[in-house]
Subunit: 615 residues, 2 copies
């Protein structure tokens, strides 16, 4: 039942030799089957392929078996009408995707299509002992329905959600007027079955809640929602690189591991720190020099007390020996401590996972001029209420431009995000439609349209606050006055209610932005901006960077950061300083915006949050 | 001297209003100057731009000042012939790039070009009190020479390597036959100078060795070698995404943080482990429950000894109170221990930086079919001799294909690497030429040509060993017999000497490959491969993955790994298993291959090695 050859051959000959009569749909270049995208993902839904043969593979999304009615069903079934037994209904999305299937089967059962089934490749009424199985290989939203006869294999093998199949067969037309299901495949040969342990398969025993799906990130991509989100994410990543390459930017891999803790300024969470994995330190049960010093102090007291009493030689000798041992241990530990602590630090000093790439990227902007990076950032947020929903590992697109001021960065950020939205709405329209139709996401196409087609609202922070303070049709829970940060509900009012499109808020009070934002002439505000989009909030933020050495060092001191740690960063101002500006796009927030998903944990394949790092 | 406006305006009007007469070279879309790539990076070297005006910026690579001879120079200089005083010669690459400059100045000084300087935009003999400054903005290999008159500013401000300049001027033709320097700019206006603190600038005090440059990764991209390497790296990253997107792969962000330590199988180094940055645990001086337990044991002994002696009430009471305190502390610690240890672990269990993305990526391949990721991997290698050259943070391209066998993965890897090499040799020809001409790199174009144009050598491991055992024209230092790994010199012999092109070695003994490689019918070898390229060694490795549950669990046990940690991974075999294959390309090794650089630390912007994580 496994695919044929296990020997390694490097010939390019087709594996379909000798199958004359009908042509084969071309296999995906690097695997042994045609993708479903090349069959049902075509604009014609596969209509042009009717009569052709193909090898296809995928995982079972849902299935229905047409069985003969048992004799025990009694006299009420005089015509031995076939009975449809469906399996694999697990969660909303599968239910929804099966509505057409159920309708289709119902229509077939009603016998209303036999007359219409005239074309050579058209489907006939499914025979008794036939499985109708919807499979998906992740290459597109649409499933392919394959029709499997029980003569080929016991149907319960192929009938379980999550099973993998690789089959060969012929494309037939599906009768009826369901535009999304134009063709199906009549299976002629089973090449591989990867069965499912249904008792253990997490998706086949209950209506899967989002939390259940999140608990199985390694299987979740087999659901239509997670797969669609993954394809949107992939398209966004491609669009990011396409945008920056076509605009002459260079991609720079800034480091994940950093020894500069000052980069955490302005981040809500703390930094994740590295240790070296030593088997000996892994058990954690080490005696510290401090504990030994404390013990020595006490032992010394004991010895003195015993000496004062001059009565108990036995106890005094024991205590003295004990003290000597403790002193020896202490010397040993003190000597070892420095050696061990430097050995413990693989990098010979404390190292952390970077919470932002700006500082490192700036150094490359001050040499290559126009640079960007697409890299992970890290923070350990545990004190806020939603820390279990705050990603400890996220991906950001960071951009830095030399010889550029704030408006250049804003203009680039606007063009970039518009370009990403436009690419996704064009190339992932099926995914966005599916996610909108699904409970998981809202209708987003109009929101994206508005974001792409019109110029964005640009207002200064002070204007934003003054506007919000004059709002009468809504009361805000959080307090607001000039100098205070805008809360989520304030941002939502501006983007969702007032302007109904993305809003760029700029020129913030300096205390609300990191030390590197450039001080303006009023000495109170800085050249920094946030990009706020409807329904999500801030998806990007940026700043013109302070290029003046004196201002920068003052701001570092004001922020309470260690200037020694930033000496390397200051070098870019000390030597050949230049006006430069940049911004950072939060990829996961952007995914929420384009997909309409609500929970940021669903925007990344394997989410890491406080207390959660499965796999 | 700073660029004009500091207010934020969002108008799209040109900043060059009122400058009638000659047209301006278009500015880079998101900054305030034309890139040098759009001037001297053109195929004609800028010849078509003569007479046009532009704003350009960059950092000074080298410069020469034409000064009046001092009167003190004596009567030997009757004609007050100008004297050229060059600065900024720091390392080989700058020296090399200045050879034409020096030649050019020499020619100008010789006065042989005045007659030829007839064209309107042609350069005249540089006036006394003129600086010839070569600047580069990182957009291309070529520098632009700008001619600055001392009337504009004191020349020593612009005359220092590393200074930043933003200037406006007119493009002139450079006389002579130096094809790489066709035009220069006669500066008319200084818009910005970012001076250099020459005493502190690391590149201006000595011939910069590679180690010196590596010590300043934040300034290194201003050298032509590091900038060229960065542009090649960027082009490779773009080419990676272009290749996989055009072939229908989806990009997946697999996690950096993992709780699965079994992924380290097959890696040489250990895993880097995370702790949470707590201010209290940062000082490390904690009393452990174990130390307290040990103290209690001793205190109990003391108390018993004192009791036996029945003589010293004072000492006994002190010892008893002491014991009580210790017991209370112990209870407190034991209670707190679980709370604290789980609090210490941000993810509630030990978490590490992933040394490979294969396992996580496989789970997405078993849903989306054709996936790849471009992500960082981590390992702490400290025991080998070259651990200070072994990158603790690297970037890899990982690829995984469902419904695919070993030869599919090999074919994809070959196509991919060929496509990357071909793109780079086409789009980075200037960079590759520069790196070849520079001492840092070897001539590589012919090696890349050979790799791109011919089919690669494919041999089984056993063939490779037998071939090497029969070699008579060379003796190898390391021992070799069937079942042993091929050493660096063996791989070099095959790729450099014997086949003179990339070699794919496949079907390795199972003990040489990770547990997930698919066992072949002989039960001794596995379907795995290495891609070996000339001069570098292994740049990629891959395998068909073991899809059979029983075989996989046996191999996990054989490898001494904890099967419990891999339960999630086994789910992909338990449920809908599929034949799948993949490979991993080491980006830094590939960069060494295409650039000819020798040290892997130079292939990444901020290298992290044992004891080194600067910035």
């Amino acid at each position: 039942m496994a695919a044929s050859s296990s020997s390694t051959s490097f010939s390019s000959s087709s594996s379909h030799e000798g199958d004359a009569g009908s042509s084969y749909i071309e296999c995906f270049k690097y695997s042994r089957r045609a993708t479903l995208r090349s069959v049902v993902g075509r604009p014609d839904g596969g209509a042009g392929l009717v009569g052709e043969r193909a090898v296809v593979g995928g995982w079972v999304r849902s299935s229905a078996v047409v069985r003969a009615r048992r004799a025990a069903a009694g006299p009420a079934s005089p015509s031995r009408k076939p009975e449809v037994e469906a399996t694999g209904l697990t969660c909303t999305e599968v239910l929804m995707s099966r509505v057409p299937l159920i309708r289709c089967i119902a229509r077939l059962m009603a016998g209303g299509i036999t007359a219409a089934a005239s074309a050579g490749g058209s489907a006939r009424r499914p025979a008794v002992g036939t499985a109708l199985v919807r499979i998906n290989d992740g290459s597109c939203v649409a499933d392919l329905q394959i029709v499997v006869d029980s003569a080929l294999l016991p149907l319960d093998q192929i009938n379980a959600t999550g099973a993998c199949v690789l089959v060969e067969g012929k494309i037939e037309q599906v009768e009826g007027t369901l535009p999304q299901y134009v063709v199906q495949m009549k299976v002629e040969k089973i090449l591989h079955i990867g069965p499912v342990d249904s008792e253990k398969y997490p998706r086949s025993n209950a209506h899967s809640s989002p939390d259940l799906v999140r608990g199985y990130p390694h299987l979740a991509a087999r659901t239509a929602t997670v797969a669609s989100t993954a394809r949107v994410r992939s398209e966004l990543v491609h669009a990011v690189h396409a945008f920056f390459q076509s605009n002459g930017f260079f991609h720079v891999n800034t480091p994940t591991i950093t020894t500069t803790t000052a980069t955490s300024a302005g981040n809500r969470g703390k930094m994740l720190r590295l240790t070296r994995l030593f088997s000996k330190s892994d058990n954690g049960n080490r005696i510290t020099p401090e504990a030994v010093r404390a013990a020595i102090k006490e032992k010394t007291k004991q010895v003195e007390a015993l000496k004062r009493s001059e009565s108990n030689r036995e106890a005094l000798e024991a205590a003295e020996q004990d003290l000597q041992r403790a002193n020896a241990l202490s010397r040993q530990l003190e000597q070892g401590a420095s050696a061990e602590s430097s050995q413990d630090e693989f990098f010979h000093r404390p190292a952390y996972l970077t919470p932002c790439h700006t500082l490192h990227l700036e150094t490359y902007a001050c040499a290559l001029s126009s640079v960007y990076t697409f890299s992970p950032v890290f923070q350990a947020e545990s004190e806020s209420l939603d820390s279990d929903r705050s990603l400890a590992e996220r991906w950001t697109v960071d951009v830095e431009l030399a010889f550029a001021e704030l408006e250049d960065a804003i203009s680039c950020a606007e063009d970039c995000v518009k370009s990403l939205c436009s690419t996704v709405s064009k190339d992932c329209s099926d995914e966005l439609k599916f996610l909108s139709s699904n409970q998981a996401g809202d209708a987003t196409s109009s929101v994206i349209e508005a974001a792409v087609s019109s110029p964005w609202q640009k207002i200064k922070y002070t204007e934003a606050v003054n506007t919000l303070l004059q709002v009468t049709d809504k009361t805000f829970e959080s307090k607001l006055e000039l100098g205070m940060p805008l809360s989520r509900e304030h941002l939502s009012y501006l983007a969702d209610d007032l302007y109904k499109k993305p809003v760029i808020i700029y020129d913030y009070p300096k205390q609300l932005k990191p030390f590197y934002a450039r001080l303006k002439e009023d000495l109170k505000t800085v050249s920094a901006f946030d990009l706020v989009v409807p329904k999500v909030g801030i998806v990007a933020c940026g700043a013109q960077k302070e290029e003046r050495m004196d201002n920068l060092t003052s701001r570092i001191e004001e922020s309470g950061l260690q200037v020694e740690q930033l000496e390397w960063y200051l070098d870019t101002r000390r030597h050949g300083t230049v006006k430069h500006s940049g911004f950072s796009i939060d990829l996961e927030s952007l995914i929420l915006f384009v997909t309409g998903l609500k929970d940021v944990r669903d925007a990344i394949p394997f989410h890491r949050t406080k207390g959660h790092a499965k796999c």
